[in-house]
Symmetry: C2
Subunit: 716 residues, 2 copies
């Protein structure tokens, strides 16, 4: 009977190819396509240990229905008693209806942990998925189903997983008018105007996708915050979203505009030491928790890029954060206080300022404050050294903030898999407590024994049908979730898992796709900002090259500020003879990076200012090496497009064409970056091109003349 149904489905699938069935990316990595070699194992039925399943357990059962319908053509039957071949779901609250012998010991799996293992049942084998919490169980179900969908034989499985990081958040930089700052996938998925009257089913699809990769928190609004979201009118809308997310184990966070007590409360000040201000925030927190009892807390950008903050009143970041933390503490909420600050006045070296500001505050923050630090000291560049605050704050928990949306890596059109970038940061050794003091160990709390740990990813999600603008950018959302759960996971393995779920389980195709992904970020570094160069993008929108810009309101917003190229030399001296930013790192890094001879090529011009004819370890001059990197980047972009073309016929036509179009754009823009950069450097250094290097397609005036007033994602 089942076999007949399967044949029928297969036949029908061959006949029925309605347009709506086209692969459009909406289903992300949860397509539950049957693996090439067929599904290796089909449980006989599904059994839960609960008499009255929670909403979360019901979502787990729904997920099994969706997945098996797609993987095997029909749902698993639900049984009341476990037998041979059963799939058994159990959690601390969902045990009682199982026979004693099948009740697993779930204590110790932790808040979000789960186990999957074979058990004996009905005289044969069964598979148990167990969580201490219902959400842990849901995570286990997702893991199990994705393994099945990748073709893994789950019968011998013995998995025990607990997340390394407690709070695994997406940060949406979404405005209330649905503009997404640094968004390249259309408007915000939050339709504030229609909430709460219309709760778009997409909100649940979004929660579903996040839960499948372990994300357990969402900050809904832009860090450049609008106090309006804290009005009753908007909190009603936020509540509707929180209600959708709750069964998926996802908490809602909001960005708190520091001046809200003045803007909404009519107070004369937002001074964090003012009693009325404290009371206003306390009342606001109480108001929020009355509707959203599991509200996560506030994410705050203060005294940075024009945002109000405690320094407006002569108070420190710690005093500001603690005031909010006190308002949230009775309800169990946390404050995520961003360390992305730099002075509004003519600054010291911008990359030094967060450290300068926050290091002295170490130990001054409340227990429910976590300081959120970007991966590098500048701003989500294609490559930066890790942020010197990691390892430097011994008594303050630090959250790692990564940018999933590709503000500086070619928007959504360039393929740049960020798993490699993020792994570079996570595995970087801070040496804070001797060798092995990696950023990962700071972030997971191991190094300083922190209980409050967090990782935040600036979301790349928008209303585009495929969620992220490009199909490959889905991988960055996925990789963020995987790395927040397990910073030790390999970028390569994550890429392969994602591609198998997203495209196909064919191993040859996977080899190609994974190879493309693994080289992609380095390609971007090469054609945009090789050898430690940084922040050379078009001003404001960050689209395309603008190396020549040197006259903005703030010097540290100009590309010139970062490259400082003159006829003689190029680069930013961050050693003792310069800004000495290198001193913010622990030994032996400080010494290594202070010495040009021991600084790796990839960070060379980040730390050093060098003559154009400086001799590199390769024997080439710096100028020759620079041009060589640009050419390599262009070549790599061409390779990506060519590798993809080789997959024609092995990827569904719609997604194949979409990716191919984007790779073609990337190829052209890589060339544009290379040509504009070289034309500019030549205008500065007067040097001839190295032998064999092609001259830029256009002259420098042409590249300077290009304007993109309507580039997406701008920050106003």
């Amino acid at each position: 009977m089942r076999k007949q149904a399967l044949i029928l489905v297969a036949l029908a699938a061959a006949i029925l190819v309605p347009p709506a069935m086209a692969e459009d990316g909406y289903e992300l990595w949860l397509r539950y396509d049957a693996p090439e070699a067929g599904i290796p194992y089909l449980p006989a039925d599904v059994v839960t240990g609960c008499t009255a399943p929670s909403e979360t357990i019901r979502k787990s059962l729904d997920e099994l229905d969706i997945a098996f319908t797609s993987l095997a053509g029909e749902k698993l039957p639900q049984s009341r008693t476990a037998g041979q071949g059963s799939l058994i779901l159990a959690s601390a609250d969902c045990l009682s209806s199982l026979p004693q012998s099948l009740q697993p010991d779930v204590t110790g799996l932790g808040e979000d942990g789960y186990a999957i293992r074979g058990v004996s049942s009905g005289g044969g084998k069964a598979i148990l998925i167990a969580g201490e919490s219902d959400v842990g169980l849901l995570y286990g179900v997702f893991d199990f189903l994705m393994r099945l969908s990748r073709g893994e034989d789950v019968r011998g499985l013995s998995v025990e997983q607990t997340p390394a990081v407690k709070l695994r958040l997406l940060n949406h930089w979404d405005n209330l008018d649905r503009h997404v700052e640094r968004g390249y996938a259309g408007q915000s998925i939050w339709n504030w105007h229609l909430l709460p009257g219309r709760v778009d089913p997409r909100y649940e699809d979004y929660a579903h996708a996040n839960a499948s990769i372990g994300i357990n928190g969402v900050s809904l609004t832009n860090v450049n915050a609008d106090a309006t979201v804290l009005t009753p009118q908007y909190l009603e809308k936020v509540t509707a979203l929180a209600d959708v997310f709750r069964p998926y184990g996802i908490k809602v966070y909001l960005t708190a505009r520091f001046s809200a007590p003045m803007e909404l409360g009519g107070l004369a000040t937002a001074d964090p030491l003012d009693e009325d201000v404290h009371e206003w925030w306390q009342a606001k927190a109480d108001e929020i928790y009355a509707e959203i009892p599991d509200f996560g807390g506030f994410l705050v950008k203060a005294n940075s890029e024009g945002q109000p903050g405690p320094q407006d009143y002569g108070r420190s970041h710690a005093e500001g954060a603690n005031m909010l933390a006190d308002a949230l503490a009775p309800h169990g909420g946390v404050v995520m206080w961003r360390a992305f600050v730099y002075s509004a006045e003519e600054p010291e070296d911008r990359v030094k300022q967060a450290y300068t500001e926050f290091k002295p505050l170490d130990g001054q923050f409340r227990d429910n404050v976590i300081v959120q630090v970007k991966n590098g000291p500048l701003d989500f560049q294609p490559r930066e050294p890790f942020h010197p605050l990691f390892g430097a704050m011994e008594e303050t928990p630090l959250a790692l903030e990564l940018q999933i949306t590709k503000e500086y890596l070619g928007f959504s059109t360039h393929l740049a898999y960020l798993g490699t970038l993020w792994k570079e940061v996570l595995s970087a050794d801070t040496y804070a407590a001797g060798p092995g003091s990696t950023v990962a160990k700071v972030v997971d709390g191991e190094l300083t024994n922190e209980a409050l740990t967090a990782m935040a990813g600036v979301s790349n999600v928008g209303v585009d049908r495929n969620w992220t603008g490009s199909h490959f950018d889905q991988a960055n959302w996925y990789a963020f979730g995987r790395l927040a759960w397990d910073p030790d996971a390999s970028a390569n393995a994550i890429a392969r898992d994602w591609a198998a779920l997203t495209f196909t389980t064919d191993p040859d195709v996977l080899d190609t796709i994974v190879a493309m992904m693994m080289q992609s970020r380095e390609a971007v570094v090469n054609y945009m900002t090789p050898l430690g160069l940084t922040h050379l993008m078009g001003t404001g929108h960050h689209y395309g090259p603008a190396l020549w810009v040197d006259d903005l309101d703030r010097a540290d917003w100009t590309p010139y500020y970062y490259h400082r190229a003159t006829e003689d030399a190029i680069g930013f001296d961050r050693t003792e003879t310069g800004s000495n930013a290198v001193a913010q790192y622990a030994e032996p890094l400080r010494e290594k990076w202070a010495d040009v001879a021991t600084t790796p090529d990839e960070l060379l011009l980040w730390f050093h200012r060098l003559p154009w004819d400086y001799e590199m370890t390769s024997g080439r001059s710096l100028w020759e090496e620079l041009v060589r990197h640009y050419d390599l980047g262009v070549q790599q972009a061409e390779d990506l497009a060519e590798q993809w073309q080789g997959l024609e016929g092995q990827i569904d036509p719609d997604r194949f064409a979409h990716v191919a179009d984007y790779l073609e754009i990337q190829k052209q823009e890589a060339r544009w970056w290379r040509d504009a950069s070289i034309a500019y450097w030549q205008s500065v250094n007067g040097l001839a091109l190295p032998e064999g290097a092609a001259p830029p397609t256009h002259n420098l005036d042409y590249y300077k003349s290009l304007e993109f007033p309507n580039a997406p994602g701008q920050g106003d």
Copy 2:
């Protein structure tokens, strides 16, 4: 064999219900769902008369494949020779391979016309679809397929159709940054940033939908124009869209910013009589036509609401329009010059100004200029009298501009079928050449024997999955196309056709849906602006009631300007004792509307200022009648929601829930409109509520306090 396949499909459909198959509205009225009673007729095969089919013919064949796959489970086979039961496609360029006896006489069907009729073939019957042009044939194919899908027996069909109006355009008010002015369906579908590198398949889906309802032109950009679209960088993008649209018979138009010669060309003036200005536009037109040989022309908003125009140089609208027309004429392009103008200074009665300005210019425009006039003299209100320019311009072709997007009728959440509104306008008698001089006869050119005729609809399309924000707003897009083709079509029949294609052919369900649609616009009039009141919406965004606003920069942007309510009276005196706007209409309308006794209730306060206790024909006082209309509107909104609830289980669950949510919002907002309006009127007239009328839920201060800074579609 075929029967087996059909059974298989039916069985499979019952088993396979993947999420992506859910009805989400993307396919519009082109779902090609098999009718309830089954498809009444299946041709044996399809035969064309052409040896080398044009792109348009290939689209026709593709459409048959898509439709029959969906309607009958498989494509029609293509045959080389016609036999019994064949479906024969022929056009002037696609005849030669048919036997002489089957070659239809296609002359006289006109540029876009088509015929569908039974013919004898192979000793039996066959069906012929014929167009003079290939596009006419495509229109015929769409008509045929939609008839089949509605369950019509096509065997006895004898249809001959030619459009009443030559240019049937959508006007997109889409900015280059993808913001849509007055858009309630998300961002613009034109992704300018990615064009031409990425040509989204949605552009073709859009063209496909338009072609199915006879739309043959698209103005891509906002009438509040940005000259940037005329730069080479953007014209390359426009060309990519024109290439997609061409096979569907759709021409591209652009909005021309009158000051473009200064902004792009560096000229010191944009004076239309300046030789350099003329040359600049001529060169620009030549540049456009070199890439887009069938470019439609320019749509222009000049000297209105801050837009530049010929009056900036003391020239008339005719001089401005003619200058552009001369630039386009060598290439066959047209200028659509909007009559929506009103003075930037303290004006005479705003509704008089377009007539005052344009009437004296009658006869001064070039042959390739058409003056585009909104349906009413104000601005797309829930109800206005028809625009007095219709019938008043004897020597100037006039295009009718309708607003498909519901700027003033509740955005996309309120159900308001506009077919009834548009029919009210089209069938209005201007009496310009005696009784029967309807607006429709002005627009189709019959009255003044114009060859250049046009109808334009301000698009309600955006990136929302269902295109128009709400499922029911698809009906307005559809109805616009149908009425532009045939202004004599009935609103009821159009609604029924649309609903049958969109939801179901079940006659009982259709009865309910059509009844809902037919009463919906009057419901909106009743709860927003009954008895001839107008323009009482929230300022700027036009969301919700704001009757009390009287202090904007311009008096004629305030609700107060339009209602003029005082303790004693309400309404705008447009008779001789007032602005005498009524004199712009022909007799006997002038006399009829000048007399309060012969003015219909629905236009009463548009033309007259009356005491609150004025006795209506009903015997009730004006105040009582007003309250009664508000209550009726609320009741009608409640009825809509209730009628829809009665269809649960007969509409697919996703669309059912979506519509139900919106109707619930409409119900609440109808109540808000009624309560806020009554609270305000009472604050002015001090009158008690009529017996039985419920007091407003909140006091007036509450309604005044509501703010919607992030309401969608605002005009900046």
